[in-house]
Structures are given as structure tokens and as C-alpha cells.
Subunit: 169 residues, 2 copies
DNA sequence: ACCTGAACACCGTTCAAGT
DNA sequence: ACCTGAACACCGTTCAAGT
């Protein structure tokens, strides 16, 4: 129905299947059976596509994290699982500049909210836990750890030390 | 003297000054007063340049970390300082695939050694501390934290929790 | 309203040719 | 030994033109 959504769907499919390197205007257009210049009648340019896919990814990530709010271990697990399940989407939102101006408003905050709530509102702790999870995922996806490394154990140890679960008083 | 080193020096200067986006064969050649195809008489291609600069960066980072071995806080501080002082070099070794086959042997291990020693040999803890530092730096360089955030405090809190200094017995 | 071909300013890279 | 121009297969993007 909406041509713009069709384009974005194809682009997302291409991203998932072949990674950010395959996300070119000519490839997207080819998949739709048109020529690259035609895309510019429906969107402003490639940045528009990237920003839209970043927005979708953040919304999807937020939805994956929300049910795990409260338990740091479970939340970290959900973060890791989402990233490993959508590595190219994670790369697009994380390794490329986040195009904030074109993002649906509140999306970034929605993805951050479960984190802040889970650590009890401490901003520094929330940022640290985020950085830890991002760092672990980023290094894992970049194959920076030795092949046989037991990363489950690394995650468990690290999260437990950084953000021990709230003891009910 | 060695033309290859001259090329790498120029490339490194270009990287520091304008970032990875400016690191093109034509720009490097222009800076040297020659044409791009001439570069291929001295190196195999652009990957060769990237790998060489990644190697230099890791050696430099290792040298910056070594003196701080032993104290997790000081080590993390040195890591952060190096990354903020050479943001484009950090990006080149971290956001782009690490070209291990073309790296000087042992360089990756040399950069990791101070970390492993500092946490007392625990591999999981070493990986966690590395991921935390990388995640914090990566998010800071990507402007993912709010502008006024007191990141000094975030680092201090996070490192202290994850890797408390060894108590002398 | 939607799509096209041709063009522009870029990439990395190859190769025959010049000195 | 070192460098060159021309070319190839790519990029994102613009624009006059076609239906």
C-alpha cells in the first residue's frame, strides 16, 4: 500500500540477509524491480532508510527488554539474545551514527527505560550496565574473544558483580 | 627512506586529522604527490594500510597500558585516556574488522596482557573489564550519553564494583 | 503520480605503457 | 625501480525527460 513502507521492508530484509554492506540504493531498487533514482521520489535519501531501520530496531529491542525489567541477569540475557539474533540490526544502530533527528521521538528512551528501572534508578549504574552489555556484545560480534570462550559465564560473573539483584527488605 | 613507511605515515596523519572516512587511496596518493595506482607498487592494497595502522595502534595502546598494570582504576583510566586522545585510531581498530593475518604477531596479546595481570589472571573478569571499558569508550565516542553526564563518576563506580583492587594480605 | 537514462563526483583496483 | 592514464565495476545523488 505505502510505497515507502515497501522500500523499508525490502531494505530491512536485505540488511538481515547480507549485512549493512549490501544496503545500497541500487540493490534495494533492484530488489523492487525499479532503478535507484526512483527511490528518491519516496524518501529523501539513504540516511532516511538507515534512520528508519534504526528506529525499527530500537522499538523492537525495547519490546524485547521490557518483560525482563527488574532482574539484571535476565535483562542482560535478553539484551544479548536480541543482539545475537539480529546482529546486522545491532550493527546498524550501534556502529553507524545514530540519526536522532529522524528517529521517532522517545524511542531511545523507551529502550533505556527497562535498564534504569532495573538498577533502581541509579544513572551511573544504568550507564555502566549498558556499557558492559554493549561492550560484551560488540566484542563477541566482532569475534574479539577466543573461539572457545565460555561467554555465558563471563556475562553471569560480570552482571552479578556490577548489578547484584535487589534484596527484598 | 622506505616508501612504504612514508605512505603509512601519511595515512596515519590523515586518519588522525580527518577520520577513517578520509582514508582513501586517492587522498593518500594526493598527499604524497602521486596518483592512486602508484600506491600498489608499495603495498598490496587498502587492507594492507588499514592492517598496518591497526597494528601501530595496538602497539601504542599496549605501551600506554603497561605502566598502569596492577591497579584496575588506573588501568581503566589509561585505556579511556588513550581512546579519547586517538578517537580515530580507536575506531579503526575497533569498528572495522581486525585484520589479524596481517598484524605483527603477539600485538593483540601484548595489549591484553596488562588487563589479565591486573585482575589477577581471571579470564572472565579480564574479559568483563575489557568489555566494560570498551563499551564505555565506544558509547562516549558515539555521543550516546547525555551531554552533561559525569562519566568520570560512572567509570569510577563501575570499575570499583567489577574489579576491586587486590587487598594486600 | 511514478519511473527512467544520463550524468556527476566519488570509491578500490588492474594493467598496459611510459621514464 | 617508479609512476602514469585509461579503464572497470562499484557508490549516493541530481535532473530533465518520458508515461
Amino acid at each position: 500500500v505505502d510505497r515507502r513502507e515497501q522500500i523499508l521492508d525490502r531494505a530491512e530484509h536485505l540488511l538481515d540477509a547480507e549485512g549493512p554492506g549490501a544496503l545500497t540504493m541500487r540493490r534495494i531498487a533492484d530488489d523492487l524491480g525499479i532503478r535507484a533514482p526512483s527511490l528518491y521520489k519516496h524518501l529523501r535519501g539513504k540516511d532516511d532508510i538507515v534512520a528508519a531501520l534504526q528506529g525499527r530496531a530500537l522499538i523492537d529491542l525495547a519490546a524485547a527488554l521490557r518483560p525482563e525489567t527488574g532482574d539484571p541477569i535476565a535483562l542482560a540475557g535478553a539484551y544479548r539474545r536480541w543482539a545475537l539474533h539480529h546482529p546486522h540490526r545491532y550493527e546498524l544502530t550501534t556502529r553507524r551514527e545514530l540519526l536522532r533527528d529522524r528517529l521517532p521521538p522517545g524511542v531511545e528512551a523507551a529502550a533505556a527505560a527497562p535498564l534504569v528501572t532495573t538498577v533502581g534508578g541509579d544513572q551511573h549504574l544504568a550507564r555502566a550496565l549498558w556499557a558492559l552489555a554493549h561492550g560484551l556484545v560488540d566484542l563477541e560480534l566482532a569475534h574479539r574473544f577466543p573461539p572457545g570462550a565460555d561467554l555465558d559465564r563471563t556475562w553471569a560473573l560480570a552482571v552479578a558483580r556490577l548489578a547484584p539483584p535487589e534484596r527484598p527488605s
